[in-house]
Amino acid sequence: MKVEGRIADIYRVLFEAPPSTKSVMLELWRDTHAEYLTNGLRHLGPGFHVLDANRPWLCYWMVHGLALLDETLDDDLENDIVDFLSRCQDKQGGYGGGPGQLPHLATTYAAVNTLVTIGSERALSSIKRDNLYKFMLQMKDKSGAFRMHNGGEIDVRACYTAISVASLVNILDADLAKGVGNYIASCQTYEGGIAGEPYAEAHGGYTFCGLAAMVLLNEVEKLDLPSLIDWVAFRQGVECGFQGRTNKLVDGCYSFWQGAAIALAQKLMTIVDKQSKPSYSSKLSSVGDACGTSSSGLASEKSSSLDYAKFGFDFVKQSNQTGPLFHNIALQQYILLCTQVLEGGLRDKPGKNRDHYHSCYCLSGLSVSQYCAMTDSDSCPLPQHMLGPYSNLLEPIHPLYNVVLDKYDEAHDFFRENDQTFTVTDS
């Protein structure tokens, strides 16, 4: 109630303010955020030792945040980051949390996304794709799902990070893709959202991971999309932001996790319509059997010549088949009024401190909500789709990978051209 009250106060001030003040209140403070993020890249205080196992994440949160704000980094800084990430790259493939640390799928995801966002030839060619492929195969469990690291647990996030990276650098093939779709489908709960693993509680972060991975695998038909959309839509509350799970408080980072998930659905409406018809066999027809039977996806698992990277590419070029299924303007309102911090950076909610993670994901969520009302992913939003002055407009992202769209296109071309140099050697 306290959080609701605080947010209600903020909104009341907005509604009662004269138009000129309103537009100032709704401004995105681009410069201060850019400063906060750039400073973080150079130097972090001693308290950050707790994130020592997460340094590629810190790079990604800051570099991606800056890219959304359309800020370029100095060449020196870029080179430093590329060098640092190369030192995090394990000799046998994959990236760890820091130099000398065990490779891990999540830090690999962060490192690769950072390098793609930097986008230089040097950055992209620093990724050792053949070792990365071998590392991923090792992380693959016989059930088809992925574990985060050697000796780690299996969950949906590991599946997403693996599939996303593999698709992005064009090493996704039938061997890596086998069985992942079924595992993720088994993690969809009767509530409609997707959990971290089978029989756990539905959760916004995992819902995004599950849905995005399924789209990249072209097996999204295995999910019960109407239930999923229903669950996600109801995570947007009166405060206008998204919550992560039933009855939890609103949190800025879910602007991306839930916002992007439901924005993805806008391109999947033909499947949603098909699944909504009563003749479609009900997925969750028996309690406890969250996997259920499903009609087969479009992907045929025996075809090893399936071009997986194309699914990611084609998806973003597809038009939206419906308008936003969530209140995109309201979400922008929450982000602009409640998550921005005067000194730079963005936060979870009023009363919490800013941090780089929230800065990254609040901005990502803002970008999604600005572009989701347009039919095509890369056309410029009209002023009525945006809250506040037009200068608030961020760069569009590729919602499946969460990298800036231009950078995705460049990387896509790069990894296609360099396919001849990529060979898989038998270990």
Partner: protein, 397 residues
């Protein structure tokens, strides 16, 4: 060069002090990282020899200004220890060093998987009960200040799996774990990882323990009706109950009198009581969706095996009750917090949800709705107009 050596020496001393304290008091159950000024006020009582650490009554405080140096020293020591130890089975000499240094390291940075894995390697060679229980102690310590730390929970599960291979009767261990999670959940509400851990324990439980857990957690749940995690835990327990009663109790099952059926009926009644008492709590409605789904299926199956001569089948009666609940919610007077309005919206959505379970059910629901409050579409338009695009799509059949 000399100052570097001196600095390294200083860091080494710090690490040594830290590890010494950890070794001398293996029962430490709480760690805090304090600003030097806060630490000074603790040190004022004069019993400590160090100016950076304070330890008393199994509580440890570390001054924040030594953290970077301490961390660096711990990482270096740990790297040296692991480099000199052949993997996967570290030698007897290397093992204690690895354990000491990784413990210090993990208290400072629990995410460091490399350190957790080095402990796993040592324990895989020598996994007697005492060592495994020490691991649980270390995990509990870290969770006391970092209750959401995934790596720690993960390691804890690895330890328990190892213990399960050696201990015959896990019930006491499981009980203790359940209590631990409850304590953590009290301080850190809706902690996904903690509750997930509690659900993970369920397959280790015997049916009697499952029933016990269900009964024991009723009071706690009543005090936390907005906490979806504890309802999810109850659902997992109920599912486990179904599994274990699946094959047995053939006759009881048919007549809806098995333990599971009785439990379910009671749960439905209790859930309705809570819904009426606490307006607008989404987690209660979600729980009801779960309960109704299986219950309706059972009633419909029952109808097929023993068709009743009454005009209304059990399923009809149940649906009548649900519609009655809906109409009560729709007609409740408004309140200053807007909770009755939220309640009405949730009730309408619940009704939409059950009507989509089965074509037969859908027909029955629509029929009764027309008789009392109007069609589903009309009801939704009244109470949930802001999400009209969403439910229009969902109604679209």
């Amino acid at each position: 060069m000399e100052s570097e050596v001196a600095a390294a020496q200083g860091e080494g001393d710090l690490l040594h002090q830290f590890e010494r304290i950890l070794h001398d008091d293996p029962l430490i159950d709480e760690v805090g990282f304090l600003h030097p000024t806060q630490l000074d006020s603790l040190l004022a009582d004069g019993t400590n020899t160090s100016q950076h650490f304070w330890c008393s009554d199994h509580k440890l405080a570390v001054s924040t200004n030594v953290l970077p140096d301490l961390y660096r020293a711990a990482r270096l020591a740990h790297s040296n220890a692991t480099l000199n130890a052949p993997s996967p089975s570290p030698s007897d000499a290397a093992a204690p060093l690895i354990m000491t240094h990784s413990k210090a390291l993990l208290i400072l940075c629990p995410d460091l998987l490399t350190a957790w894995n080095s402990r796993k390697r040592v324990l895989s060679v020598n996994c007697d009960l005492k060592h495994l229980k020490d691991e649980l102690q270390l995990c509990a310590l870290i969770l006391s200040y970092s209750p959401k730390n995934e790596s720690t929970w993960c390691h804890r599960r690895w330890v328990i799996t190892k213990l399960a291979q050696q201990i015959q009767d896990m019930s006491e261990l499981i009980d203790n774990e359940s209590v631990l999670v409850k304590q953590i959940a009290e301080k850190s509400k809706m902690n996904y990882r903690a509750w997930r851990h509690r659900c993970w324990l369920i397959p280790f439980m015997k049916p009697k323990q499952v029933l016990n857990e269900l009964n024991r957690s009723v009071k706690w749940t009543e005090l936390h009706v907005a906490d979806n995690c504890c309802f999810h835990y109850r659902r997992s327990l109920l599912l486990a109950l179904l599994d274990s009663h699946g094959v047995e109790n053939g006759k009881d099952s048919i007549y809806l009198q098995s333990d599971a059926h009785l439990m379910w009926k009671e749960e439905l009644r209790w859930n309705e009581m809570l819904i009426r008492r606490y307006q607008g709590r989404e987690s209660l409605w979600i729980h009801r969706r779960f309960l109704s789904q299986w219950w309706l299926q059972q009633l419909i199956n029952f109808e097929e095996t023993c068709p009743s001569k009454e005009e209304e089948s059990l399923a009809d009666l149940f649906l009548a009750q649900e519609i009655h609940l809906l109409s009560d919610c729709l007609s409740a007077p408004g309140d200053e917090f807007g909770e009755t309005r939220v309640q009405a919206g949730l009730a309408a959505l619940y009704t939409l949800w059950i009507s989509k379970q089965d074509a037969v059910v859908k027909g029955k629901v629509e029929e009764r709705l027309q008789q009392s409050v109007g069609s589903l579409k009309e009801v939704l338009a009244r109470v949930s107009s802001d999400k009209s695009r969403l439910w229009t799509q969902l109604l679209h059949c």
